[in-house]
Assembly symmetry: C2
Homo-oligomer: 373 residues x 2
């Protein structure tokens, strides 16, 4: 129950055992086309969508490097570890991050972005983490942010690594120019792949970007995409897995998938309210895919997680960065259902009791069960 | 029988099905340590060796970007598609490639490198493709090249993507500072991972390199390595596969593995001599891991490969770049043995005969069998 890598269904794991094929041959072309068609469904886009062999941080770097020239200003709200990484990527590229500092646990607002755009008229892009995995925060103002960037003709880059396929994210409708996701989160796939969507407006900027890196050059990816290939050797077993994962998403349907994630999240938050354990994020910013809660005072978080893992066979994460020991993070992603939700809540209740922290045993489970029934 | 991806033993494929674990937990630490220990054995190094989730081209970019500052001169012999890519990586990084043009099919010589170093006294590095996958050429002067760079205190970067674990390559003994390999070649692993060794001399240069990229920053990799982790989410199933592949290499032993590759290569070349089919590469440069031969005149190479694949179930590759339709390339890599060698030779004899190209049927097989018995 980590906020990635998440549990992977057997059907997706088994898909990795298909033969290692020539990545320049017709069998691969068929696999590649199936993946990109279904990726467009997941991104809700009619534009380009590609799989790339790398991690979440790698695909964010790819997006930043393709859209940013050294010296370019990029507006970036910073409200957790992954938006810090986004800022770091802009700096390493030689860009100038125009930071919008945001309290950890809160989400950036469209009006802050708009005000900053008015001040920094030559900004080239706005880069936003849609779901901050480190704080359990979703930037629900994203559609309004998209309206602002669209009106001002600025590129909008969105890091959706830990939310893509877990909550509604129609990239065309919301005017998102580059959107990136990870395989090992809500797609319920093994780690090792990342995915990216690119709009026509983004291509116009990318084509004018100087000295792109090689492995992450999106114009090479687009060229190979026309041949149903990747520019460089792909992680073939993971491509099979992603293909299967995307087929499962189509079978379930995006709406049903979003509803399932939202219902499990609601059950988690109801359980923690009943147990008087506070979410870390502010109420309007609470993520449906990463549930972050404060470690109850007097409890050793690392020890509680250890007990959950060893005695109750449920692994959750601690915090990251400056709140490392302060929170628990639960991945509510991918194949999460009533079963995983209740098992996790029960394991936490038990672990806290084992540590002599008095929780009302069963109260969390009772509150969660009411959401499901 | 492609020059990568190569055939992967079931044992390695099955390893991918192990549970998707937390890449920040003790189970992963154990896996990571097993991989890096065995990688050091394969690189024959006491220095650092890391696995990174990317392709061969990606790991070459990683090596170049960590060692090169924008403006730096890097000496690079160019004698095929992958040395062209190496040159391209230097250019994209903002470096100045000092090219040593070498005829395709031939290998660069240590004396050319030495002469160029004397002329370009401020060159920062020498970058050499040890095995040109596009021409079937091995740069057998590599130990002498290492002596030259060592004497001149210049960093030596070696692209060994298609030869690592297929032929002797003791990186410490040969004074190689950065050496890169791919998972899907002689390691007999699925594609998606790359490996890299880094010497103390290389670290001294890397630490002084400006504005390294993020995903490929080797100093972050070294920091995480000390914790037995990767800096960013790794492709866990492929890490399991690599671990198993490296264990199989230890069980066989490097010397036996090199001997097996050399024997199969000898059989291939003997067969083609008997069939009067010319190798593309010059005799002293012939690779033991990529066998490149001229398509016999009058034969349509693509058609012959199609027949081999569809009728005789053996897939080999055509050429790349300017010799695309001119040669056949056979991967003599990984698990290659007498069985695969004879099957491939037989399939080619049959396909050529099917195309009414008169080869002495059986002559190739007979010559090859003599090598094995």
């Amino acid at each position: 129950m980590l906020p990635g890598p998440t549990n992977v269904p057997d059907r997706i794991m088994q898909a990795m055992l298909k033969p290692i094929i020539n990545h320049r041959g017709p069998e691969f072309h068929k696999l590649y086309e199936s993946i990109t068609q279904n990726l467009k469904y997941v991104f809700q886009t009619k534009q380009h969508a590609f799989p790339i062999t790398t991690s979440g941080t790698g695909i964010v770097e790819c997006a930043v490097d393709n859209i940013t020239n050294p010296g370019d200003k990029v507006i970036v709200p910073v409200f957790g570890v992954f938006s810090e990484r986004l800022r770091e990527n802009i700096t390493r590229r030689g860009g100038k991050p125009i930071e919008i500092p945001t309290k950890w646990g809160d989400a950036p607002k469209a009006e802050q972005i708009e005000k900053t755009i008015k001040k920094e008229k030559d900004a080239r892009a706005v880069a936003v983490v849609y779901n901050e995995t480190s704080t359990g925060v979703t930037a629900r103002d994203l559609p309004s942010i998209g309206e602002v960037t669209q009106k001002n003709n600025i590129v909008l880059l969105v890091d959706a690594v830990s939310i893509l396929a877990g909550e509604n994210l129609p990239v065309d409708k919301w005017n998102i120019d580059i959107c990136v996701g990870g395989s090992q989160k809500c797609l319920a796939c093994p780690p090792g792949l990342a995915v990216i969507s690119v709009s026509q407006k983004a291509w116009e900027k990318i084509e004018k970007t100087a000295s792109r890196p090689y492995y992450f050059d999106l114009t090479l990816t687009r060229e190979s995409d026309a041949k149903k290939e990747t520019p460089f050797t792909p992680a073939i077993p993971l491509f099979y897995a992603l293909d299967e994962a995307l087929k499962m998403i189509r079978e379930e349907g995006l709406d049903a998938r979003f509803k399932r994630h939202a219902e499990c999240a609601k059950a988690f938050y109801a359980a923690f309210e009943a147990l008087e354990i506070q979410p870390y994020s502010s109420p309007e910013a609470r993520s449906n895919t990463v549930i972050a809660i404060n470690v109850p005072s007097g409890v050793d978080g690392a020890q509680a997680r250890q007990i959950m893992k060893n005695r109750y066979r449920v692994e959750i994460a601690g915090g990251m960065g400056k709140i490392k020991e302060q929170i628990f993070r639960i991945g509510c992603m991918g194949i999460v259902s009533e079963n995983e939700t209740l098992t996790t809540i029960g394991a936490l209740e038990n672990a806290l009791n084992d540590l002599n922290y008095k929780v009302k045993t069963g109260a969390g489970l009772e509150a969660a069960r009411k959401i499901f029934h």
